[in-house]
């Protein structure tokens, strides 16, 4: 038996390696340095992420898979790498603030965020179901730990255990589904699958069953109803920066995985879209309704944001279902916008703490505008963007999402989407009302927030407004990825 060593082109995965080195370095610093300065950890992580970011930018896109067909460095993966790295940077910054009040979890927190980021980046570039699965696990395991990293709060442990058990459960479905797909197609390589489907596209019941199971597994990651039930509890219980990364990075990665498996033309199951779209169609419908209905009456800020995040997963899934190019573009654009507004919202939740008291209830934001006007203003931008107010990236993104749904003639889906969006204004605006109209109910002052958190919030707010007014800044890059120049 002859063993062929595939060509190893490490420089193509240099961004991932840099993040890995940074994560290990951060983790090791805790072992070898007696008392680690918080600032140094954050600075190191920022530096590593920045280098990785610019390395990713400088990579040349190529559609030819590398590492024996396992991964591909196409422009999509390069763009997503940048999104993930930027997101990780923002989360590190808001986590820095959180760590000041909870120093015990530092610097593991930063290292775990970076490890999870590697998982996301692996998903983004996988051209085979094996790295896809590995990436999902690489992403999930650090997040399970992150969710439980606040050992002083019961809720954190509870969140971690629930997240883990249900996550592992859904992984079971995922693997089982992949097994069926492998059984039918006799390969796990998406490129090969796409090529053979291009020759003749047909599905067997076993394959369709595989799709269903795969969708359960990935549906968990992006918390599509009814696989969403973990999300509110975990978002509420996990430490807020961890929640931010679970809500954004993990969800975006889940969608990327779906994209890699289902919608990329010629290198996925896109040719069989007639078979898998109805399932996602229904999930999107249920998710939009459940997410918005759940958020409507919440008094807990993070829980409300959790349901809002579920609802946004529904909107994304709606555009995703269309399977068209514009649908993919809209999904990508909205992912970036969603990242900014969600990280920003959780960032405000961290910053708006009072001495010895985290911001938990929406009512805890009362009077924020009076004491921390910039914080309240930034939060308003995030809320309005989440609601889809014109002038913000949320509006442009939603417009395209609904446009994609309408173009694919999913009129009822788009209608439900618009109606639930209208509903969502209620709970988003409620936050603004609390900040600007209500007086604080006690004498406790809000803490000063750190520079890093302020920076992250500013970046998010400016980015949202910038993309809202000049969507082309990102749109043109996205169009390059989806092949329309």
């Amino acid at each position: 038996m002859q063993i062929q060593v595939p060509e190893i082109s490490l420089w193509q995965v240099l961004p991932e390696l840099i993040v890995l080195a940074t994560a290990v370095g951060v983790l090791a610093s805790d072992l070898f340095v007696k008392s680690v300065q918080r600032v140094n950890v954050t600075l190191t992580a920022t530096l590593g992420l920045l280098i990785a970011f610019f390395t990713a930018r400088s990579l040349e896109a190529s559609a030819t898979p590398i590492f024996a067909g396992m991964v591909v460095r196409d422009s999509l993966s390069i763009l997503l790498d940048q999104i993930f790295l930027a997101g990780a940077m923002l989360v590190t910054w808001i986590g820095h603030e959180y760590a000041r009040r909870n120093p015990r979890q530092f610097p593991e927190f930063t290292a775990l965020v970076l490890f999870a980021t590697i998982g996301m980046m692996v998903i983004a570039m996988s051209a085979d179901l094996i790295p896809l699965f590995v990436g999902i696990e690489l992403l999930s395991l650090p997040l399970f730990v992150l969710a439980g990293s606040d050992k002083d709060r019961l809720a954190s442990g509870e969140a971690s255990l629930k997240y883990f058990l249900l996550g592992a459960f859904s992984t079971g479905f995922l693997v089982y589904g992949i097994a069926f797909i492998f059984g039918v197609t006799r390969t796990t390589n998406l490129t090969v699958i796409g090529q053979s489907l291009a020759a003749h596209a047909e599905a067997t019941p076993l394959l369709v069953l595989g799709f269903a199971l795969l969708l359960v597994g990935l549906g968990f990651k992006i918390s599509l109803a009814p696989f969403h039930m973990w999300a509110p509890d975990v978002y509420q219980g996990a430490p807020t920066p961890a929640t931010a990364w679970i809500a954004t990075g993990s969800k975006i990665a889940g969608f990327v995985a779906l994209m890699r498996v289902f919608t990329l033309p010629d290198v996925s199951f896109a040719a069989l879209s007639d078979y898998w779209t109805p399932g996602i169609w229904w999930l999107a419908l249920i998710t939009m309704i459940i997410g918005n209905a759940g958020a409507l009456m919440q008094s807990d800020l993070k829980r409300m944001l959790a349901y809002s995040s579920i609802a946004h997963g529904g909107y994304l899934a709606m555009a995703f279902t269309s399977g068209t190019r514009i649908g993919a573009e809209a999904t990508l654009f909205y992912m970036a916008a969603y990242l900014l507004m969600t990280v920003g919202a959780f960032g405000v939740a961290i910053a708006a703490s009072r001495s010895g008291q985290e911001c938990e209830k929406i009512a805890d934001l009362s009077g924020l505008a009076r004491q921390r006007p910039w914080l309240a203003f930034a939060m308003s931008i995030f809320m309005l963007s989440l609601a889809g107010m014109p002038g913000t990236a949320g509006f442009v993104g939603k417009l395209w999402l609904f446009g994609a749904a309408v173009q694919a003639q999913y009129y009822s889906l788009a209608l439900i989407g618009v109606l639930t969006t209208l509903l969502s204004f209620y709970y988003y605006l409620r936050v603004i009302v609390y900040m600007y109209v209500h007086e604080p109910d006690d004498r406790l002052l809000f803490n000063r927030y750190s520079f890093s958190n302020g920076l992250a919030l500013t970046v998010c707010a400016v980015g949202l407004v910038g993309l809202g007014v000049f969507p082309n800044l990102l749109w043109s890059t996205i169009r390059l990825c989806t092949g329309a120049v």
Binding site: L129, E158, L165, A168, F173, Y176
Partner: protein, 103 residues
């Protein structure tokens, strides 16, 4: 009687359903974890069987199974750590009692 691929598939399906049953009915965290392991192993069985019965096999089923085993091990490590931590806080790993967050 020759053992064919169907036999493997049926065994795997039984394992899968058993796993599902355990996860849904049991309240003990560790038992739920064991149910999950059953599900993962049923998938592994599928992978290996498909790989065995495929004429032009490229071994990727076996490889996948190995990856699943490795990651399941990693998962178990994390799981036990989490369970321990939760046990320290709640003095129980009964999921009924670890349900402060709801609605």
């Amino acid at each position: 009687m020759t053992i064919g691929i169907e036999h493997y598939l049926v065994v795997s399906l039984v394992l899968f359903l058993l796993g599902l049953f355990i996860v849904v009915t049991h309240r003990n965290g560790v038992r739920i974890l064991m149910g999950v392991e059953l599900i993962l192993n049923s998938a592994n069985l599928n992978f290996v069987a498909f790989n065995r019965y495929m004429p032009d096999s490229a071994l990727s089923g076996n490889v996948f199974a190995i990856f699943v085993i490795i990651l399941a091990a990693a998962e178990a490590v994390v799981a036990l750590a989490i369970v321990l931590a939760v046990y320290q806080q709640f003095s129980t790993i009964h999921m009924d009692e670890i349900s402060n967050m709801k609605h």
